[in-house]
């Protein structure tokens, strides 16, 4: 099976602190590959390192071509869509402006986005800052789905959202995954069960397990060991302990945006 993305010996640091250490895995050319792990183990940093949003070293190949020395915007232009953790929509811009900014293709897939997220069409003149969390997440995902990508990097899309919205987003993601391979960071085991075919488990900045998703989810002891939760525990109950202060490494934005 060919891989769309190969990550070899990837390390990343933020503010001089190593947050990802010698990570290697590959993403198959179809389907959803989920990145799992406890809070603060370096999942988000791995995604950011692939995109060049944090300082990184190692090899990253996109369809066999190295992208580990390219600036972020070039990597994205090669056809990598990114849905960041915490949405990061531009709050001062309208929904329509957010979408317009994201367009790279000559013929963006407006119809697809409008079909997946009809709510956004109705709110196109609304400022993104006034949207609800779920709507912002849809907008963030819509930005990535507008273009025909070779790979989607999706970071915790369901974080902190109500179950109904989680279902809606998962469906949209499933729809998207038919045409583009997805690397998905996710904590919600139900969503993983629904979408993922493979998993990569990260702990302490390293890859500790790779394999088919079903196999891992079937092994309750492994789930507990790697993720520190019971597989049968309702996924929404875990959300509250998300982002314990200090547990999360500083985000790349904090480091990047540090201003005099």
């Amino acid at each position: 099976m060919s891989a769309v993305l190969q990550v070899e010996h990837l390390s990343a640091s933020i503010g001089g602190q190593q947050v990802v250490e010698d990570v290697s895995f590959s993403v198959p050319a179809t389907g959803v590959t989920a990145v799992l792990g406890r809070n603060g183990v370096g999942k988000t940093s791995t995604i950011k390192a692939i995109l060049g949003l944090v300082e990184r070293s190692g090899t990253v190949l996109l369809d066999g071509e190295p992208i580990d020395r390219e600036p972020t915007h070039r990597i994205v232009q090669r056809g990598v869509g990114y849905v960041p953790e915490d949405r990061e929509v531009f709050t001062a811009l309208t929904v329509e402006e957010n979408l317009r900014l994201a367009v790279r293709d000559r013929e963006p897939r407006r119809e697809l986005v409008e079909a997946l997220f009809p709510d956004l069409v109705r709110r196109s003149a609304q400022r993104a800052g006034t949207l609800s969390g779920g709507q912002q997440q849809m907008l963030s995902m819509a930005r990535a789905l507008l273009n025909r990508n070779r790979l989607l990097l999706v970071d915790e899309p369901t974080k902190g959202l109500a179950p109904k919205i989680v279902t809606e987003l998962a469906t949209a993601l499933q729809e998207a995954a038919r045409t583009v391979p997805v690397l998905l960071v996710e904590q919600n085991l139900q969503v993983i069960e629904q979408l993922a075919q493979d998993v990569v488990v990260i702990d302490g900045g390293r890859v500790v397990h790779t394999g088919p998703a079903a196999e891992l989810l079937g092994d309750e002891a492994a789930v507990r060991r790697y993720l520190g939760v019971h597989a049968e525990q309702p996924p929404t109950a875990r959300r509250s302990d998300d982002d314990a202060p200090g547990a999360q490494p500083p985000t790349a934005r904090a480091a990047e945006e540090a201003r005099p």
Binding site: G15, G16, E55, G246, R259, P260
Partner: protein, 400 residues
């Protein structure tokens, strides 16, 4: 008299001043990448450079021996007949040369006080000139208008400067980063306006205030006594150096340095970043005021330019030239700048420069053009300034 005694955490902690502390060593050495590491928001490059810094050199009394030897050499200069053509205007015992050297020493001391703000605490102030001017103007006005003896007057002015620094600091430190820079700049500008406009007839407008010598001891007054003023300047520099070193090694110094890197972590260990920053700001202001008073005795007048933003920018240039975070770098940067400024002015009016075609003669006749260009080049190509370059040299030699 001495603000640092109000340090809430008391005197220097002996356990942390030993040679086992890489942090203190780095501050002394100005490790490579110092400039990057010491801005108010040290970027990742700076931190990485710090992690990559060479291991701490074993050091005990060594830096003090070096400083003491330097001080002794400087102290005997007025008794010697040394000539350094091109650098000094004449033999070292002549009043003209001693005056220039004293100016170098005072700027060294002033740059050191700025180092405490910017190099140690990472506070990019554009208003440090305010406290320097407060010292010079304050003492000039006190001597002009009262019959207080010099030392009493100086003590009074110092108290005033400490109050001023605390007031301005208390407001400015409500914001950080660029806003802090702007607020300090604005306050200094206000001081500059007061000085220039002669509000209330105290500051003498553009002429400034002269030094009334009635209550100044005779040994500090005459041209022939320049060497006494020179020794005074040396004493001020030595005193400021000791205070700055001591402050850096005190608990407060460590905490403020930690605040620069990670404010949250400082909060977590139960310290108040705001108060410690304010303390640092006030200490730096008090030191600048002391230097300002010595400056008045040297120059015999206080003029509005010493309160301008340009003076603070000059200090920033000195500290960056020498290497941000390095004490001796700040002093060397200041001495180098002052000498260059003086010598370039002489060079500019020389026949050699005047005879050049306009393309060369126009820029070369402006010392600030040359100094500014030098500064830009250092920022672009020599991170860590002189101290950084010296550290790289040492490192290279050790590897061989």
């Amino acid at each position: 008299m001495n603000t640092p005694t109000s340090t809430p955490t008391g005197a220097a902690d002996p356990a942390t001043t030993s040679d086992a502390r890489p942090e203190a060593v780095r501050a002394d050495d100005g490790a490579p990448g110092g400039a990057g590491a010491t801005g108010p928001t040290a970027g990742r490059t700076g931190l990485r450079a710090r992690l990559a810094a060479p291991p701490a050199r074993a050091r005990g009394a060594a830096p003090w021996v070096g400083a003491a030897v330097t001080a002794v050499v400087l102290a005997v200069l007025p008794l010697l007949d040394l000539r350094v053509p091109g650098v000094l205007p004449g033999p070292t015992y002549t009043p003209g040369t001693l005056h220039l050297l004293a100016l170098c020493l005072l700027y060294g001391a002033l740059a050191l006080s700025y180092h405490l703000l910017y190099g140690v605490a990472g506070m990019l102030s554009f208003g440090h000139a305010l406290y320097f001017a407060a010292g010079a103007y304050g003492l000039a006005v006190v001597l002009q208008r009262t019959d207080l003896p010099l030392l009493t007057g100086a003590a009074l002015v110092l108290v005033g400067a400490v109050v001023l620094a605390n007031l301005v600091g208390a407001i400015s430190l409500r914001v950080t980063g660029v806003s802090f820079a702007m607020v300090t700049l604005a306050f200094a500008q206000a001081g500059n306006v007061v000085a220039r406009r002669n509000i209330g007839g105290w500051s003498g407008g553009e002429e400034g205030v002269g030094l009334r010598t009635a209550n100044v001891p005779d040994w500090l007054v005459g041209v022939a006594d320049t060497r006494n003023v020179y020794w005074l300047a040396l004493a001020v520099l030595a005193g400021v150096y000791v205070v700055v070193t001591w402050f850096q090694r005190s608990r407060a110094g460590h905490v403020v340095e930690a605040t620069r890197e990670n404010e949250l972590r400082v909060r977590v260990i139960g310290q108040q970043p705001y108060l410690i920053r304010l303390l640092t700001f006030a200490v730096a202001g008090a030191l600048a005021a002391v230097v300002g008073m010595a400056y008045l005795l040297l120059q015999s007048q206080a003029v509005p330019t010493i309160s301008s933003a340009d003076l603070t920018i000059t200090l920033l240039v000195m500290v960056v030239l020498g290497g941000v975070g390095s004490r001796w770098g700040a002093v060397v940067g200041a001495v180098l700048y002052t000498l260059l400024d003086q010598r370039l002015s002489v060079f500019a009016s020389s026949d050699l420069v005047q005879g050049l075609p306009a393309v060369l003669h126009v820029p070369l006749s402006e010392p600030l053009f040359t100094l500014g260009t030098l500064f830009v080049l250092v920022v672009l190509f020599m991170p860590g300034g002189l101290a950084g370059a010296a550290a790289r040299l040492r490192q290279g030699r050790r590897r061989r």
